[in-house]
Symmetry: C2
Subunit: 398 residues, 2 copies
Amino acid sequence: MIISSRSAAMQASPIRKLVPYANEAKKRGTKVYHLNIGQPDIETPKVFLEAVKQTDVKVLAYADSNGWEPLRESISNYYKRIGLPYETEDIIITNGGSEALQWAMLIACDPGEEILVPEPFYTNYRGFAAPYLVELKPITTYPQDGFALPDRPTIEGLITEKTRGFVLSNPGNPAGAVYSREEVRRIADIARDRNLFIIADEVYREFCYDGKTATSFGSMTDVLDRVILIDSVSKRFSACGARIGSLTSKNKKVMAAALKLGQARLCVPTLEMIGSKALFDLDPDYFLPIRQEYEKRRNIMIDALQKMEGVLCEKPGGAFYATAKLPIDNAEDFAIWLLTDFEYQGKTVMLAPVENFYQTPGMGRDEVRVAYVLKAEDIEDAMRILKVALDRYPGRKS
Amino acid sequence: MIISSRSAAMQASPIRKLVPYANEAKKRGTKVYHLNIGQPDIETPKVFLEAVKQTDVKVLAYADSNGWEPLRESISNYYKRIGLPYETEDIIITNGGSEALQWAMLIACDPGEEILVPEPFYTNYRGFAAPYLVELKPITTYPQDGFALPDRPTIEGLITEKTRGFVLSNPGNPAGAVYSREEVRRIADIARDRNLFIIADEVYREFCYDGKTATSFGSMTDVLDRVILIDSVSKRFSACGARIGSLTSKNKKVMAAALKLGQARLCVPTLEMIGSKALFDLDPDYFLPIRQEYEKRRNIMIDALQKMEGVLCEKPGGAFYATAKLPIDNAEDFAIWLLTDFEYQGKTVMLAPVENFYQTPGMGRDEVRVAYVLKAEDIEDAMRILKVALDRYPGRKS
């Protein structure tokens, strides 16, 4: 039996496909520091499990297809607290931000149509676009510019008659770039003038450092009919395993289409929605110590990387990732070698090669994504180990 | 902003689109018996919530993309108890049976390719197929034949060079038909000889009456490389709100593609997998009283329907649905009228029009799906009310 060519052609997650090597290393007794995945070690707020455990239903029934209304209300309140004008009716609950992103692309594009996306970008965008025959077209950004967006003519030069919108994450994954208000405005202007959607993945909104804040596309009042806002509890509340996200828009046609997609898969899990409501009801001060903690971890990691010979890594402004250029030829080979042929004091590190976060062939081959989601002493230890590994790696460039 | 034509063209769920009318009726104080949706009132086994409540994790982390291994083991054990040869590695956990069905269609078909499906069929199959440009091609079955499959030449006559497989539910939704061993073998033979996939939706496996059992496609050992088995906890354990399903296959390419699709959306919720494992670990005797209860409800409902003048409804052999032909012109109009213009002793009933469960235009226009998921006395009351409604309906055919 031959499977469809489109499912055969899908990429394995470059973040997850090295997992078997890591498992082998662990079986050998090697400790592996996971810098490869955005799985924070920050504790999930206890209110999540407490709310779930207070639930006492006799029949665990289907929920509404657009999500449990009290959760949607709490998300609306959260948006209003940060100055975004979204009502309960503008919000539909999804299976993580992942499902919301899939739906947004499907709602924006017919087969063969295009979405512009600044590269490097969250590699799973590919897995969302490919099954629906949506083409991702890269807007290349560069480490030496802090991964800033190019100027308006450069972006407009990429627009064709097939272009239906932008997808972009702000703060960004994998480079941690935070767009300035002017950059956000630039995209909004282009979208307005060229009739494009803006799929705004803002799941890292609270994680901005050095006093910066992320400008939400939801604050651009002249383009609200073209903004599709993606959010999630995963990173925001360190609740990746809850799989609760949302798609939000003031565009009634978008919401009607999203509801039909929601009806087709019936609903998302009830218990996870109950727990997630408790998260959105947390005092906004919850984020202050978390942000400080990530900022401290970032400083430790980036300072260490910048001291390693041949490593290039600008200090990112947000999220909890950085993209680092290493003195090697092929980051995937190096990442595998770290798991199969290297250990130092019984430990090694796992990295995410960034090549598959670029759409342009050949870019990012010597770059890795590192997540600063582990506690400070683990990051320090991991950096010490990475330095030794780079010294010992046979494929190191002189 | 114009949304994509494919998302605009998606059907609203015919099961759920009448919900606003029901909500209006409830606001007026009318009690609505929900015969329209397969939401059982059977209690979810307590072990589900107990297992969830015993969970004590500090960080609610991502799970493996193929699902929590202990749950996959428990499902494998469940399969082995019923004589199906599936190992843990043959199983991937999905967001309900819905996601598993979407993936199966995507794995079987490139855009424009076809899946044969006996009609009437679970209407959400359309919502799964349409976004991926998979064409559903109907194998028409008829109430007067008990919705039995046609003979081999009739089925083979529908196969084109674009045909990639079958999707069928057994026991069936919406007609409750249980295929004989010979019918299952017929499909298996055709699939083998014509190189087709069999997407076998067997979520109602345990619900067969009159001493019948459902033959699983997983027991057809000569076609296991082409069987993709779909299962779910929703109906089996009255846990619709858990949204835990599975895709199972002996075909390694299918499983590799499913894993990539799983990686793209990261994972399913951890807590729901913990609860679901407890369900699959239940003593198989759990199903005996449940099956008896549904059989009793079926008898009450179908006996009552058969006594109503002008109503045609064969007694279905499985699941918990029946398709009934009513003495009216348009079942959707009648279903809406029931909610907007009718009540009897402060009560009414909600029905699912079946027209959208057929792919062939014009079929099923005077048919409704009724689910016998409510307790016996409620079904009795609902049937009494439906009888009065049919007598009073201005659109009743003489």
